[in-house]
């Protein structure tokens, strides 16, 4: 019934739109240095706050220091996307592994992991961030680590919950009855059956993390504020929102489109991993 050929799978609207959005943004960000050599940093006080679509040199207008908004959006994506993707990848890895171990082996592992998770959930993010940065210092790597530390809990709880229901299912029991080793049951049977919701949470967390990075930078806890990032630009533009909306709207739009693209790709990935071919909400 649900036999789909590989080609039709890639012609789904979700995949086409998602791949297009993420692809265009990705290429623009990666080649920003080639398209605008040094453009993101070039200050031109003579043309401050130029509105968008008025001068061909500054299609998206300029910011209060006369820097080109388009160039900054493209350059700023580097930090934002790096932080967003790497921190989510790290959080998923740690969280899924912890959740699988806690849910499958139960007992002392479960207690340790989940109590630790509870303690961490009880701590406000800002408090965690200030403590963490105060101890190990700021910078790109530490910001990513901080985000991983603060987010693995969500994945661990989600995965553990799924494992608890799955491990009582007969197909897991029958794998055990055959004598399949624990790690193979975990990797081959549990993981594919619980990955759907994890993918959805991942795509949402990329957006959250881009914004968290900017909040940290805004508070002086994150990355060097002179390096452009989408979150940082949003924060800068906040004071000019009444008079020069374009300073913050364009980086905001970049975040929005990236997240939309990732969500579409995530939905497509989840559905195409499911052989039953049902499209779940």
């Amino acid at each position: 019934m649900a036999s789909r050929s590989a080609s039709s799978n890639f012609l789904k609207l979700e995949f086409v739109l998602g791949a297009l959005l993420v692809g265009v943004i990705g290429i623009a960000v990666i080649f920003s240095g080639v398209i605008f050599p040094g453009g993101a940093e070039k200050i031109d006080l003579m043309s401050r706050l130029v509105p968008p679509f008025t001068k061909p040199a500054h299609i998206f207008g300029t910011d209060p220091l006369g820097r080109d908004v388009l160039a900054r959006v493209m350059a700023g994506g580097k930090i934002s996307l790096l932080v967003g993707f790497v921190s989510v990848a790290g959080g998923v890895t740690v969280g899924v592994v912890m959740g699988l171990i806690a849910g499958y082996y139960r007992g002392i592992w479960d207690m340790l992991v989940m109590r630790f998770a509870d303690i961490q959930l009880a701590m406000p993010f800002i408090l965690l961030a200030i403590t963490f940065i105060a101890i190990v210092g700021g910078g790109l790597a530490n910001t990513i680590i901080l985000l991983v530390v603060s987010q693995w809990v969500q994945y661990a709880r989600l995965v553990r919950g799924s494992v608890l229901t799955l491990r009582e299912r007969e197909f897991i029991l029958s794998a055990r009855a055959i004598g399949v080793k624990d790690w193979r049951i975990i990797v081959q049977h549990l993981l594919p059956n619980l990955i759907g919701p994890v993918i959805v949470l991942m795509t949402l967390n990329v957006a959250t993390n881009i914004l968290l990075e900017s909040s940290l930078t805004f508070l002086g806890l994150g990355i060097d504020p002179t390096i452009p990032s989408w979150g940082g630009m949003l924060a800068e533009g906040r004071t000019y929102l009444q008079t020069a909306w374009w300073v913050s709207v364009f980086p905001g739009l970049a975040i929005l489109l990236t997240v939309l693209g990732l969500n579409l790709l995530g939905d497509w990935l989840r559905d195409s991993l499911d052989p039953t071919g049902r499209t779940s909400a």
């Binding site: 649900a2 007969e170 029958s174 055959i178 004598g179 399949v180 049977h189 052989p275």
Partner: protein
């Protein structure tokens, strides 16, 4: 019983039901009169449940369309076509004039309200009774379905009741407003046989008192024979045969009815036979029934050989309740000192009702569950003396088939992957190409084709999936297969095919089976020896003939008498069967009595009552 002269209460005329483009019911007509029971029989996918949901107009909510037909029902305000009524009017009819009992009593009561609240709610809703009046009436209703201690029950919550008690509550709720028509959709399928017999009794007696018309939907020909005045046989959305129950059982006209009836295992059909018999099967070919397969006496058990599996004094208990300080206060006594042997080529059946510990025994042998005490040994070697490598090897020699073929295959793996898994796990064959060839051969052996290996489980029917599970169990070349209710979830015609497959494989490979089942008729057909379990202990043990022809323990006799026989002339009064199956949960220190067994004939053991 037949009231052919009176005008029918419900008349379905030329009903067709469609879901989207597919027509699920095609041109169905039947009628029900007051005080009469019409059974709608069919296998899964025949459209029998959709019929009942259409009468209730609940099928609308599933997206059904009614392109043709009428459902005429004599409401209290005169006759009306239910298909033309709006949902608001239907709400007044549902529960009041037509009510329904569903299959699953565990999920059809709301867990957060008391029984009293739930029964009273209907009375308040439909009859506008005050709270006190409704509760008093609720108590009367619970008395009516013979629930003991009705006043006390009103304050209890659903989880405190057993399945049989819940189903009686459901009947009480269904009959609360004295409906003219009761639709019972597989109401006893999820229940044990002795409980099923009680429920059928109650339904029959209440029908006599209240004159309710009943539409009884079931796949079980035995239940049909017990209950029905008229029968409608459905097949692929069409009524292939209609008529009085006696006629249908005596001289079935349609080929499908004939194959269906021939597939039903009948208790007592093996009387006088020393060994199980593989019987040819009636199959439909080009619309004509034809006998297929060979007849063969299944004399495969080798009692002269050493036992393959020995279980000695096995005890399994689960701690469930703990006190505040973490001390165990209650335990489930699942298995209490059970001993038996299985010889090569033998089928040993474990029969019993829920809570008898039959599945726990199987799971303990398969090392899915730890034994509290006692010993399991395989081919002469005790499990406790084995190294972990030997215990791993045991999982190659002993395979387990689960009840639910829908749940025991990983939905994300191809069928070929699942069948190859035992081979890879035990490193039996290394080259991928040879594994693929083996998988293809296994699929063909169980009656599928090699092309099926690349498909996923959801693309198969229940019977095909159970065949896949059997192929998977065969993959590691086992000596013993534990079949845990492996036939219970299948339609009878499929069941008969799988029984034959089991027997053929036993003949070919000298396999031994531990056959766990609650279905006495299937056990009679398949097994060499039988152990009857009750609350974790073996009540009776012996060769099949001994247990079925000279049952010597009260419980065995009770179990046998509760099985509905697919012959309407043999209706029995089942009043003798009363009471629930006791719970195996006990407080610590309150040990169950262990019955001594005595040998009343060679190989025939019976527990002596204390």
């Amino acid at each position: 019983m037949m009231q052919t002269a009176s005008k029918p209460l419900l008349k379905v005329e030329g009903l067709s039901v469609e879901f989207g483009a597919s027509r699920v019911i095609d041109d169905l007509s039947f009628s029900v009169s007051s005080g009469q029971t019409v059974a709608i029989v069919g296998e899964s996918g025949s459209g029998k449940s959709v019929t009942s949901l259409s009468v209730m107009r609940l099928a609308d909510m599933l997206g059904a369309n009614f392109p043709a037909g009428r459902i005429l029902f004599g409401t209290s305000k005169g006759e009306a076509d239910l298909l033309r009524l709006d949902q608001k009017t239907m709400r007044g009819i549902r529960g009041k004039e037509i009510s329904m009992i569903f299959q699953e009593p565990m999920t059809s009561l709301n867990p957060v309200f008391t029984i009293g609240d739930q029964v009273a709610e209907i009375l308040k809703l439909h009859e506008g009774k005050s709270n006190t009046a409704a509760l008093a009436e609720a108590k009367r209703l619970l008395d009516m379905v013979r629930l003991p201690d009705a006043a006390e029950l009103l304050t209890r919550y659903p989880h405190q009741l057993s399945g049989g008690m819940r189903q009686r509550v459901m009947i009480a709720m269904a009959l609360a407003c004295k409906p003219k028509l009761l639709i019972a959709d597989e109401p006893t399928t999820a229940l044990d046989v002795t409980i099923q017999a009680q429920i059928l009794n109650i339904l029959r007696d209440l029908q006599k008192d209240l004159g309710t018309a009943i539409i009884f939907i079931t796949h079980d020909m035995g239940v049909v024979a017990e209950m029905a005045d008229d029968v409608v046989v459905m097949w692929k959305g069409k009524a292939v045969e209609k008529g009085a129950a006696l006629d249908i059982f005596d001289k079935p006209a349609h080929p499908y009815t004939r194959t269906l009836l021939s597939a039903v295992p009948k208790l007592g059909s093996m009387t006088g036979q020393d060994f199980p018999k593989r019987l040819p099967l009636m199959v439909l070919e080009d619309g004509e029934p034809r006998l297929a397969g060979v007849e063969r006496v299944q004399d495969t058990a080798r009692y002269s050989a050493d036992p393959l599996l020995s279980v000695r004094d096995l005890v399994v208990r689960f701690d469930i309740k703990k006190s505040f300080l973490g001390k165990v206060t209650h335990r489930v006594h699942a298995v209490e000192k059970v001993s038996f042997d299985i010889h090569p080529g033998e089928t040993l059946a474990l029969v019993g009702e829920s809570g008898s510990g039959k599945s726990t025994i199987g799971r303990t042998i398969q090392q899915l569950q730890k034994a509290t005490a006692g010993n399991v040994s395989f081919a002469g070697k005790s499990l406790s003396d084995m190294t972990s490598a030997e215990r791993h090897r045991l999982r190659q020699d002993v395979q387990y088939i689960f009840q639910d073929p829908f749940a025991s295959l990983d939905p994300r793996k191809t069928v070929g992957f699942s069948i190859a898994e035992p081979i890879r796990t035990h490193g039996l064959i290394h080259s991928d190409k040879e594994i693929a060839t083996t998988v293809d051969a296994l699929l063909e052996r169980v009656g599928l084709t090699s092309a099926h290996a690349r498909r996923y489980p959801h693309e198969f029917s229940g019977g095909q999936r159970q065949r896949i599970c059997i192929a998977r169990a065969l993959a590691s070349n086992p000596k013993l297969i534990i079949a845990d209710e492996a036939l219970s979830a299948l339609d009878v015609s499929i069941q008969a095919q799988i029984i034959n497959l089991f027997m053929d494989l036993q003949q070919e490979r000298g396999l031994a089976y531990l056959f766990i089942s609650h279905d006495m008729a299937v056990v009679e057909k398949m097994s060499h020896r039988v152990a009857v379990l009750y609350l974790g202990q073996i009540m009776e043990f012996g060769y099949r003939r001994q247990v079925f022809e000279t049952p010597s323990h009260d419980y065995t006799r009770r179990l046998l008498s509760a099985v509905p026989i697919a012959d309407p002339r043999q209706r029995k009064q089942l009043a003798a069967i009363e009471g629930d199956i006791p719970s195996p949960v006990r407080a610590v220190g309150n040990e169950p009595v262990r019955y001594a067994r005595e040998e009343i004939a060679p190989g025939h053991f019976v527990a002596r009552s204390a």
